[in-house]
C-alpha cells in the first residue's frame, strides 16, 4: 500500500513529466490556469480511504504505477485501425481522439451547420483563445479535486462542442475516444468542453474504447455549460480495456430552463470511476441522469453523483442500475443537496443492483440533504438477486438457464437503455451488453443454487 507521500510524489512527477511541449503556452490566462492547478496538485488532499468520497475506492492501482503523460499525435493513423473496434453505425458528426489527441483525418465534420463549432480544443487554443478563456474552468470552479487539478495542469487536447444561440443540431455528435496499445502505460489528460448557447439543442454521444488489452490511465475532465433554454442529450459509454483505469470528472452547469438528459454506461475497465457534478445556477433547470454499470472479476466500477439545488424550481432524476457478477465490485454514491432557498425542488435518486453471484459486492450510498421545506424529494436503493420464479417461468418455456438469466438481466437494464434517444446507438449499447452478459452468466455457472 502506498503512503500518502508516495501518492503525492506520483502526482508531482506526473505534472513535471507532462509539462513540456504543452500547447498555448504563450497564452497568459492558460499559463495561469495550468500554474495554479500545478500548485493545487501540491496542496489538495490526496484521496485515501479515510475520506468519505474515497471510502470504498482505492487509488492504489493508479498511483502505484508509472504512467507517462501521452504526447503522441498519431498523425499517421488511418481508418483501418478503427475497424476492429466495431463502432456503431450512426449518421453523425464524428470526432475521433486517439489517446486524447484529435485525429482530423478520421473525423467526419463535413457540412457542419452555421453557428456550430466542433473539433479539437488544441486547435481552438490557437484559433479562438479569447472565447475559450471565458469558458474554461467555469463549471469546475473552486470544487477542484486533485485529479481534476492534474488534468488542468496538463491541458493539451480534448473535444470542443459549441452551439450558438438557437442552433439545433440535425444529427448527433459522436465522439470516439480510443486508447491505442502503446509500448508503455500512458496517462491521458483529455479536457472536454461542451457549450450550449441560449436555446440550442444537441445530442452528444461519447464512446470510450481501446485496442487490445492496453494498460493506461484515462483521466478525463468534461465541462458542460448549458445556457438558458438549451437542451443536451449526453450519452457516455465506457467499454475500455479490462486492464485500463478510467476516471471521468463531469461538471454540468445549468442556466434557466436548461435541460440535461444524460445516460452513463460503464461496461469496461479494471478501475473505473465517474464523478458527475450537477449545479443548477438558475431556476427551471431539468437534469435527468441515468446510468448502468456492470462489474465482473477484477473490476471496480464507481459512480459518484452530486447534484446541488441552490435555486428554486429545478428538477433532477438520477436512476442508476448495476449488474454485478463474478467477484465484481461497484460503488454508487449519490447525493442531492437542496439548499434553503431552493423551494419547489423536485429531486429523486434511485440505485438498484442485481447481484448474479455471491462474491460480487456493491457499496451504495444514496444521500439526500434537504434544507428547504417545500420540496418533493426521494431516494432509494435496492440490492437483490434474480427472482427464482422468473427464471423458472422462462425455463419451463424451453429457455435454458443461462439464456433465462441473460433475458432477465437485459430486462433489468432495459429501462436505462431505453432512455437513449438515438436508436442505432441504443441498439449498439444493447448488443454490447448482451455480449458481456454471455460471459457474465457463464461465470455464474450453468445451474441454479
Amino acid at each position: 500500500m502506498n503512503t500518502a507521500q508516495e501518492a503525492r510524489q506520483w502526482f508531482t512527477r506526473t505534472v513535471q513529466e507532462g509539462s513540456d511541449q504543452l500547447p498555448g503556452q504563450t497564452l497568459e490566462w492558460l499559463r495561469n490556469i495550468r500554474g495554479s492547478a500545478g500548485q493545487a496538485v501540491e496542496t489538495l488532499p490526496v484521496p485515501f480511504r479515510m475520506q468519505e468520497q474515497w471510502r470504498y475506492t482505492s487509488i492504489a492501482p493508479l498511483v502505484s504505477r508509472h504512467f507517462t503523460p501521452s504526447t503522441h499525435d498519431f498523425t499517421g493513423l488511418q481508418e483501418i485501425d478503427l475497424e476492429d473496434l466495431q463502432l456503431p453505425e450512426m449518421d453523425a458528426y464524428r470526432l475521433v481522439f486517439a489517446n486524447g489527441r484529435f485525429i482530423p483525418q478520421l473525423s467526419g465534420l463535413s457540412a457542419l451547420p452555421e453557428g456550430v463549432r466542433m473539433g479539437s480544443l488544441r486547435t481552438a487554443l490557437s484559433t479562438d483563445p479569447e472565447r475559450l478563456s471565458a469558458w474554461f474552468g467555469q463549471t469546475v470552479g473552486q470544487e477542484q479535486d486533485i485529479f481534476t487539478a492534474l488534468n488542468t495542469a496538463l491541458i493539451n487536447d480534448g473535444m470542443l462542442v459549441y452551439l450558438e444561440k438557437g442552433i439545433r443540431l440535425d444529427k448527433p455528435v459522436h465522439i470516439i475516444h480510443v486508447s491505442l496499445e502503446l509500448n508503455e502505460p500512458v496517462i491521458v489528460n483529455a479536457r472536454n468542453l461542451i457549450v450550449m448557447d441560449e436555446g440550442s439543442g444537441a445530442s452528444v454521444i461519447e464512446t470510450f474504447v481501446s485496442t487490445g488489452d492496453s494498460v493506461y490511465f484515462n483521466n478525463q475532465v468534461t465541462e458542460i455549460l448549458l445556457h438558458a433554454e438549451s437542451k443536451l442529450e449526453h450519452v457516455r459509454l465506457q467499454k475500455e480495456s479490462r486492464q485500463a483505469s478510467h476516471l471521468s470528472n463531469v461538471f454540468i452547469s445549468q442556466q434557466q430552463n436548461s435541460q440535461y438528459h444524460g445516460t452513463a454506461l460503464a461496461m469496461g475497465a479494471a478501475w473505473g470511476r465517474t464523478n458527475y457534478n450537477v449545479r443548477f445556477r438558475q431556476e427551471g433547470g431539468v437534469c435527468n441522469l441515468h446510468g448502468l454499470y456492470t462489474a465482473g472479476d477484477q473490476q471496480l466500477i464507481d459512480f459518484h453523483v452530486d447534484v446541488q439545488h441552490a435555486v428554486p424550481n429545478c428538477s433532477s432524476r438520477e436512476n442508476f442500475k448495476g449488474l454485478l457478477y463474478g467477484k465484481g465490485r461497484a460503488v454508487f454514491d449519490g447525493r442531492i443537496v437542496v439548499e434553503k432557498q431552493a423551494q419547489k425542488t423536485d429531486a429523486h435518486l434511485s440505485n438498484s443492483n442485481l447481484m448474479l453471484t455471491r462474491n460480487a459486492e456493491v457499496d451504495t450510498k444514496p444521500q439526500l440533504e434537504i434544507h428547504a421545506d417545500d420540496v418533493k424529494c426521494s431516494h432509494g436503493t435496492t440490492v437483490g438477486q434474480l427472482d427464482a420464479e422468473h427464471i423458472f417461468y422462462l425455463r419451463s418455456r424451453g429457455i435454458d438457464y443461462a439464456s433465462a438469466q441473460k433475458m432477465l438481466c437485459l430486462g433489468f437494464a432495459e429501462e436505462i437503455l431505453d432512455g437513449i434517444q438515438q436508436e442505432s446507438f441504443r441498439a449498439y449499447a444493447s448488443r454490447g451488453l448482451q455480449e458481456l452478459l454471455s460471459t457474465a452468466v457463464h461465470d455464474t455457472g450453468s445451474s441454479g443454487e
Binding site: H390, F392, S396, R397, D400, S403, E414, E415
Partner: protein, 250 residues
Amino acid sequence: MLQIKNLHVTVDGKPILKGLDLNIGTGEIHAIMGPNGSGKSTLAHVLSGRDGYEVTEGEILFEGEELQGMEPEERAHKGLFLAMQYPVELPGVNNMVFLKESFNAIRRARGETELDSVQFMKLIREKARMVKLDEKLLKRNVNAGFSGGEKKRNEIMQMALLEPKLAILDETDSGLDIDALRIVAEGVNALRSKDRSIIMVTHYQRLLDYIQPDFVHVLVGGRIVKSGDKSLALELEEKGYGWIEDEVAA
C-alpha cells in the same frame, strides 16, 4: 403418454404426495380435483421440474422416459407444458421477444429450423386471435400490467404456440370471470387433439363445464383416492369433498 407410479414428494422435508399413481393415455384429458392442500399444485410443479420438490420414491415416465433429474427446459423441449396458476410478470422482458425465444429454443432443441421475425410475427398473431388476446399485449413486457384473464390467455396462447404433447393446466380457472373462463376454455378445446394429452388441476367443477374431461381423479392426502368419468366431478360439486375424505379416513 405419462405414467406416474407410487410417487412420493416432500417439500421442505414435509411429505405432500404419498404414493400417487396416475396413467395418462395419448389424447386423453384428465381432471385432477381435490380440496386445498391435497397436493394438486405440487403434482403440477413436480411434473414441470420446479426446484424445491424432492421426489423420495416412485417414478414419473413421460413417453417411457424418466423425468426426474431433467431440467425444466429439457422437459419443455420434449413436449411438456405447464400453464401456471400465477403467471409471473417479467419486468423489462418484452412479450414478443420472450415468445419468439421460447418458440425457437424448443425448435432448436428438436433440430428444427427457427422462424425469423416476419414468419414468427404472422404465427403469433394467429395464435393471439385464437385466444382473443389484444395484439398490443404482445408488445408489452411479459404479463406486466395484464389483468388476471389476460395473463391466463397469454398462457393458453403459449400452449397454442408451443403445441405440447402434454399440457398441465394448473388452476387455470382461478381468478377468471365467466366470460374470461369461456374464452380460455375455447382456446383449450381448440387445442384438443388425438396426439395431445391434457391434465387439468382444479378445485372447482366449473371449468369442467367448458372443458369436458375423459377422466376425473380425486386427490386427497397426497394420493388419488377415487377415479371416474365426468359424472364424478358433478357428484363432487353437489356433495363437496367431505364424503370422500370420510371414506378415505374410514
